[in-house]
């Protein structure tokens, strides 16, 4: 299996779902070629709504479509969707609209386009909306499973996807709603908790850390977070490390910290990710290096801690 961006897996899965389920409708805001919703649009033009560069109207329209029984997928870059927070908050969240918000171009992985096109605080703002599920799959197989799950689940969902290609990690049967996936069982020293693009980086980092025999765990669902798995890892390991392509405020690291603190866990936590700063232009892999979430930088940071 060659490397593949989760947005590409999404585009294919959505088109396939369109054949099975006539209730699926798709909206995009002039980025369908980038979000890959274009495949659905070409296959089912009568169920595809090109809304132009107007994301808040797209989100509100999706809510209205949901109120007539359709299952709308509203797609754009994650930053432009999360930026229309007030519309998502009232028309989707508070309204319990069965809308699937699909944000591609998550994080530093967006690369050369730079900060304004990178979703770096999207999880932070959307996580505060009650009842909204946040999914961030890490490869082709889990993305396809996440798309199916999102369509079947009644309630708002935010699906966070990558622009950049990612290696295959999982087996067909590994995605279970709300449950983290243990990618690699480890020992008693450290666990790497990752989501989306950082799962493969963490897996590569674990190979450089064979002395510590780290766990690698994929949290494809950030809300609700799999608290049982986090606490199990906290009991097993001396330290936990979260790795995310998002600001460390309000994302995976924060979610894990909340679980640990409320359970009274004394296991120390290291949060890797964008350290409360903005992003910038560059090749994705160079940015991962600079901001400390490349395999090499993850391994170095973990070594330091032991």
């Amino acid at each position: 299996m060659s490397d593949k961006a989760t947005r590409d897996s999404f585009g294919e899965a959505l088109k396939e779902l369109g054949a099975e389920n006539a209730k699926i409708v798709v909206l995009d805001a002039d980025l369908s070629v980038s979000t890959k919703s274009v495949h659905f649009g070409k296959a089912y033009p009568e169920r595809f709504f090109q809304m132009g560069i107007a994301e808040q109207n797209m989100v509100g329209t999706a809510a209205g479509l949901a109120f007539t029984g359709f299952i709308p997928f509203a797609c754009s870059f994650g930053c432009f969707l999360a930026g229309r927070y007030e519309t998502i908050r009232v028309s989707v969240g508070y309204s319990k609209a069965n809308v699937k918000i699909v944000g591609t171009h998550s994080g530093l992985g967006t690369g050369e386009d730079g900060y304004t096109q990178m979703a770096l605080e999207d999880i932070n703002v959307l996580r505060a909306l009650p009842g909204l599920t946040i999914l961030q799959p890490s490869d082709d197989i889990t993305t396809r499973a996440a798309v199916k799950f999102a369509a079947a689940h009644v309630g708002p969902v935010y699906l966070r996807l990558t622009r950049q290609k990612l290696p295959a990690i999982h087996k067909a049967s590994s995605f279970e709603p709300w449950k983290g996936i243990v990618v690699k069982e480890g020992g008693t020293e450290v666990a790497l908790l990752a989501s989306g693009a950082t799962v493969s980086e963490s897996l590569k980092a674990s190979e450089k850390l064979s002395r510590l025999n780290p766990w690698v765990v994929d949290f494809h669902t950030i809300k609700p977070i799999d608290a049982n798995l986090i606490l199990k890892l906290a009991k097993t390991c001396k330290k936990l490390v979260t790795v995310e392509d998002h600001n460390i405020i309000g994302g995976l690291g924060t979610s894990v910290a909340e679980v640990l603190a409320e359970a009274g866990s004394s296991t120390p936590l290291i949060r890797l990710g964008v350290q409360d700063t903005y992003g910038e232009s560059g090749i994705a892999q160079d940015l991962y290096e600079k901001y400390g979430i490349s395999a090499g930088k993850i391994a170095a940071r973990v070594q330091e801690a032991f």
Partner: protein, 278 residues
């Protein structure tokens, strides 16, 4: 109430609703009388002459939808829903109180008959558009009515929908603007002028009409015309008087979001019931 109430009967219903609006806001000790009174004649006309609904089955899937985009005008909607038999009149006096389903702004989760949760201005029209698209996809003939405030149309999201609804030729979408020229900080023309309002919507390719929003015959005629449009959505600028029906509230911005005291409420209701409303 007969199947098609006459203009006189609509007027009588509106009088009852106006009194209830004042009373419920007084008892809630908060709320928006000005914009509820300016909108009530439109609501009464739509609900008693135009909107197809089944009070015994409020979620009937072929029903016409009404979206109150100016959510702060919800006392007017609650008063009408009582007369439609989907809400008990006693419930009105729980408006804005804890554990009531009569939220200060419409909440579709706890009261599905209001169709949309609104109050964050500018969002209701997008929702109405989505419902209109959904009904067309399902090949249903039901219509979507939406009521916005004039001040509300200062929101950018409104103009995004102004662009998109004609693209999708949503002739099943009929939108009213309750143009009472009042908003919290002053007259709309001063806070952020919208005029020429009708011309703006015409330029966006809507079928536009301009009427007196307190004249039942004009409202009925405008809807009849809108229903004959085949290729675009309709926008009706309804010129209204903020606080209509209560002399000391009329055109007084101070009554946008202030509850009357008991004495003021009694005075207002006496005036309304005394037929001083023109």
């Amino acid at each position: 109430m007969p199947e098609t109430p006459s203009v006189q009967e609509l007027s009588a219903l509106a009088t009852e609703c106006r009194a209830d609006i004042i009373r419920m806001i007084e008892l809630a000790a908060s709320g928006h009388p000005g914009g509820s009174l300016s909108a009530i004649d439109i609501l009464v006309t739509l609900f008693f002459r135009e909107i197809k609904m089944d009070p015994k089955n409020p979620q009937w899937e072929d029903r016409d939808r009404f979206i109150l985009s100016k959510g702060h005008g919800v006392p007017a909607l609650y008063a009408v829903l009582v007369r439609k038999g989907v809400l008990e009149r006693d419930e009105l006096w729980t408006l804005r109180k804890i554990n009531s389903k009569l939220q200060g702004h419409p909440d579709r989760v706890i009261m599905p008959v209001v169709e949309a949760s609104t109050g964050s201005l500018g969002q209701g029209l997008s929702i109405a558009q989505g419902i209109a698209l959904g009904l067309k996809l399902q090949k249903k003939s039901a219509r979507v009515f939406c009521l916005m405030g004039d001040g509300e149309t200062q929101e950018g999201q409104v103009w995004e929908t102004a662009l998109s609804a004609p693209k999708y030729q949503l002739n099943n979408l009929i939108v009213f603007i309750d143009a009472n020229n009042g908003q919290i900080d002053g007259h709309v023309t001063e806070v952020m002028n919208l005029e020429p309002l009708a011309e703006k919507w015409r330029a966006f390719n809507w079928a536009v009409q301009e009427i007196d929003g307190h004249d039942y015959s004009q409202i009925l005629e405008a809807v009849a015309k809108a229903k004959r449009v085949t290729d675009r959505p309709s926008l009706i600028v309804a010129r209204t008087v903020k606080g209509k029906g209560v002399s000391f509230m009329e055109n007084n911005i101070g009554w946008h979001g202030v509850a009357p005291t008991k004495a003021e409420s009694e005075k207002a209701i006496a005036e309304i019931e005394g037929g001083k409303r023109s």
